[in-house]
Structure formats: C-alpha cells, structure tokens
C-alpha cells in the first residue's frame, strides 16, 4: 500500500462522503466558471453593441477650430493617404476600421442631396447598416453606383437611377432606417466622388473605429496619441471621450459585479470544504486513534488529509468546470442574449483554484487530526 492508495481506497469505498466533499467545492467552481463564461459572452456582445456608437477617434483637418464653415461646408481637406499612415501605428491591431469620407451636395430634381464618398471600411465601422435586414455586401456601390439612406430614398421616390452633376448612378440599394444622419444621405465610392468634385485623393474627415473595449480610457488616448504622432501637423486627432468612458464604465460595472459574486461563492466553497474536512476528522477519530496506536506519526496523518483535499480539489475543479460550462451554455443565451461558447482556458484555472481552496481548507483539520490523543480516540466507537 502507498499513501495515495490509502487515500483513494478511503474515497472510493466511502462514496457518499466523497461525493459530499466534491459537492462542497463543485458549487463554487461551477458558479465561477459559469459567471466567467457568461461574462465573456456579455463582453463580446457589449463590444459589438458599443461599436455601434460609431467611430471613437476622428481625424479632421487642422487649422482654426472655430472656422465652422470650413468643416461643415467641406472646404477643409485632408490627404486621403493619412488613412494608410494610421494603419502603421504600433497598436494598429486594435483598429477595426479607418473610414475616410468626402462630402458634397448635389441638386437632384428639386432635392438638395448630401452625398458622401466612402470606402468599404465604412461597413466594418457600421455593422448595423442593413438592407432588408441583411448586412450590406453586394449592394456596396462600385463605380457609378449609389446607395441611398432611408429618408433620402423616401424623398426621391421610387428611382433606379440618380444623376449627380452630369453623371448617372445606378441605385444599388436603400439602407434600412438607422436613426442617424446616414438616413438623410446617399453614398458613392470615395474615388468616384473625388473625381466628380475635382478633389483627387482628398477627404474631409477620417473616422477611426477601435476595438479598445478591454483597455482603459488611457489606452484609447494612447492610440489617439500614436495616430497623432504618425500624422503631420495639419491633421487634428480627436478621441471621442464620452464613447470611451461609456464603454469602459459599462463593462467595468458588469465585471466588478461578477467578480464579487464569484469571490463570495468561492469563499463559501472554502468554508464548506473546511467544515467538511473538520467533520471528516471527527468521523474518523477512532480510525486516527488506531493509526496513531500502531505507529503513524503526525506527518503521515497530514499527508492523508492534504492528499485527500488535493484529490477533492482536482475532481471538484474538473466537474465544476464541466457543470459551470453546461450552466453557462444553457442559461447564457437567456442572460446574455447571445450564444455562449465554452472557455477552455478556464479549465486549468478551475482546477488550480479548486485545489488551492481544498488544500488550504484542509490544513487546520489535518493539524487537529495529527494532534488527537490516541487513547481518547480509541475509546470512541
């Protein structure tokens, strides 16, 4: 016999007691895993939803901040190539979309139509753009094609072609209502509008969408700083503080709440495990007395209890992970409103946390066992 066999035999032949021990820690670990998994799904969903606030860094032409006409009438311009320079910054991986835009007004019949020249990055920055509730793909305008905003289309009436200046544009689709200024506009390829207006390789504004959800406000400003350094002085880089702070604030609150919940539950698990191990020592007083009488020393008894706690921890960690994942996948869609994929990286964490709790909780009861008076214990039947 080895110590490990002694412990596993005790656990396997006293199944009910063993299951009770596993349940003590399984509860905490499964809630930890479920909370983390659902949190992760909420996080991804929040990330997707918060992106809908639009760009969180805007690059405008420099110059007089108070020259309203220059900005609103589209006379202030930036080189389009700045958009490419933005993609070269150190944290370019956090950039979801760089959308350069050029604006112009055209008279279509008696309607003064605001037209924006855009690139395909506009779709990445605006994942909520839909045509008949489907994501815009083939309808994105190419060459002499035009995409109409919801109210623009309503104003123009049923048309299949629109003339901008002397050029004729085929209507590729009508955007579903967005609730933004986009509803009142029309969109053509950037390079076509540049050619049409004689403003080759120039834009009015470049909008940058970042995925800086998990980072702090400072990180968003860091990215803005990096962009600022990558561009010449004639460009003004403006991080949109409100969006960043809203993103961070919402997610931090969710995370803090979930963290408090599982810390409380894990503490409870540790408390239950300590009680379980203490009751195990009480139940096994007579057996401990026998072992002490026939020559076991305190070290051996420590080894029995700590090894048992280790096994309970590993089994509790594995089963807690499995149960937590099942709970999160079953309840997640109700809570997060989205599918909840399992997080495999939580498995080693679950086992490590569970084992640490069980071993820590077993130290005092093991000490109690080692200090038992064998004569007293042997008298108990």
């Amino acid at each position: 016999m080895r110590t490990i066999e002694f412990v596993t035999k005790e656990m396997s032949r006293r199944k009910r007691k063993t299951i009770a021990g596993i349940l003590c820690i399984l509860l905490g670990i499964s809630i930890f895993v479920a909370a983390q998994t659902i949190n992760n799904a909420l996080y991804d969903k929040a990330k997707e939803q918060l992106l809908r606030f639009g760009a969180n860094i805007i690059i405008q032409p420099g110059g007089d901040l108070f020259d309203k006409n220059a900005l609103t009438q589209g006379t202030a311009l930036l080189p389009e190539v700045y958009g490419k320079r933005i993609q070269t910054i150190e944290h370019a991986g956090m950039i979801v979309a760089v959308s350069p835009k050029l604006y112009e007004r055209f008279l279509v019949g008696d309607v003064s139509l605001s037209v924006a020249g855009i690139t395909e990055d506009e779709i990445k920055a605006k994942p909520w753009w839909m045509i008949d509730r489907k994501i815009v793909t083939d309808q994105f305008p190419q060459g002499n094609e035009i995409l109409l905003g919801h109210y623009t289309a309503a104003h123009l009436g049923p048309v299949s072609k629109v003339n901008l200046g002397n050029e004729e544009f085929r209507v590729t689709g009508i955007l579903d209502e967005t609730g933004s200024a986009d509803d009142l506009m029309a969109f053509v390829p950037l390079h076509i509008l540049q050619g049409l207006t004689g403003r080759e390789r120039l834009v009015n504004v470049i909008e940058v969408s970042t995925s800086c959800i998990s980072c702090s406000t400072m990180n968003l400003y860091d990215i803005a700083d990096e962009i600022d350094k990558a561009l010449p002085d004639d460009a003004r880089v403006i991080p949109v503080k409100q969006i960043a702070e809203a993103q961070i604030g919402t997610l931090t609150k969710i995370e803090d709440f979930i963290r408090i919940v599982y810390i409380v539950v894990l503490c409870l698990g540790g408390f239950l495990m300590m009680n379980y191990m203490s009751s195990t020592v009480s139940d096994r007083r007579h057996e401990i007395g026998i072992l002490l009488a026939i020559g076991a020393d305190a070290r051996k008894l420590y080894a029995f209890f700590v090894l048992k706690a280790l096994f309970l921890g590993v089994i509790g960690g594995l089963t807690g992970y499995a149960l937590g994942t099942i709970i999160s996948m079953a309840a997640g869609p109700q809570i997060a409103g989205t599918s909840v994929p399992p997080l495999l990286y939580l498995l080693p964490y679950s086992v490590a946390i569970s084992t640490a709790i069980c071993v820590t909780a077993s130290i005092l009861p093991a000490k109690k066992a080692a200090q038992l008076d064998p004569v007293e214990a042997l008298q108990e039947v």
Binding site: M1, R2, K9, E287, A293, I294, D297
Partner: protein
Amino acid sequence: MIELRSVTKSYGRVGALNNVSLQVTSGDFLAIVGPSGSGKTTFLNLVSGLLSPTSGETLVDGVSLGKLGPRERAALRREKFGFVFQTFNLISYLTAIENVEIPLYLAGAHPAKQRLRAGQLLEKVGLKDRLFHLPSELSLGEQQRVAIARALANNASALLADEPTGNLDSKTGKDLMAYVKELNGLGVTVLLVTHDPAIADFAKRKIRIVDGRIIQ
C-alpha cells in the same frame, strides 16, 4: 525488556495507577487481571508510550519513553509492539490483507513486500481464503485473527493484547489464545489484559491490579 519504575498515572485527582514497579523480560507471557476500572488498560498504554506517566519512568529495552519525542514513540510502537484490541479496531474500508499491510506501510516497506508479508501472515492465522474481504464480511473470530496478523506484521517483539477475547465466544477465544501461546513459544513477549481467569491461565505468570496497585 519492559520495565516500570514507580509509575503513577492520575487524571486530575483520580488515580489510575499508583506507584507500580514491574519488569517483563523478553519471551515472558504476563497476564494482567483485575476488575473493570482497576488500571489494566492504563498499564498497557503506559508500556506502549500512548500515555505518559504522571511520575515514575517506563523503559523499553533500556530506553526511557519519557525521553522520546512523539515521532520517536510512534516509531517505537511501530517497530517493537503489536496491538490487539477487544474491538479489533480494523479499518472498516480496507480489506483483511490491506489492514495487515498498514504497519508495514507505516514502517516504509515496499508495496510488493507488504503484500507478500501480509499474505503470509493471514495464511498463518488461517485466513488464506479471506484476504480480500472487508472486516464487515468476516466473523468476529476472523476479524481478531486479522488483528493478530496486523500486530505481528513488523516482527513485533511484544504483543500488547487488551481483552482480545472479550468479543469472542468461549471456543473461539480459547483457539485464539492457543495461537497467542504458540507465538509466545516462538519468543514473542505477550502482555495480556483480561478479566477472565480462564484466559489468564494461558499466561506464564499473572499479576492482579486493584485500584491502581499490583496486589499479587
């Protein structure tokens, strides 16, 4: 050799053993008789080092137990003594052979060696067919024989038996004592606590303890 020098053991104001001096030589078979509560079990517990005397000294092979730490006393119990209790005190979730392996395991013997030795001992006590039975699947007599095999596992030089036949019927008790006597014939010192005169008759000599004193 086991020696008690003016040993007194009391629990608070209650005296369990009073100024007892005694020598037990190797190969002796001593029966300690007396009524319940007279101090017989306390005597055995003092000899094994499970209890420390309030005053006086207990020596085993010339070593004073009072000078040993808990770990050294545990090692002494492992190496020199074998215990047989009235209630057998087998570990309920271990099979007969695993119960006999425990002292060998505690002494650090290799698992294969433990298994071999435990099997041989159980064969000697007539339990060759019961090796893998749990205590609950054995008769009381069989359980006590497992306890004896366990007591002998580490080649104990002394067997400390506390009412070993107390839970057995008369015939099984006598069979068991015949086996204990056989062991004594092989050189094992036996200290037997009993209140049954018929069982005490198996011993080479007897002492009677009454109210914590040896009176004969």
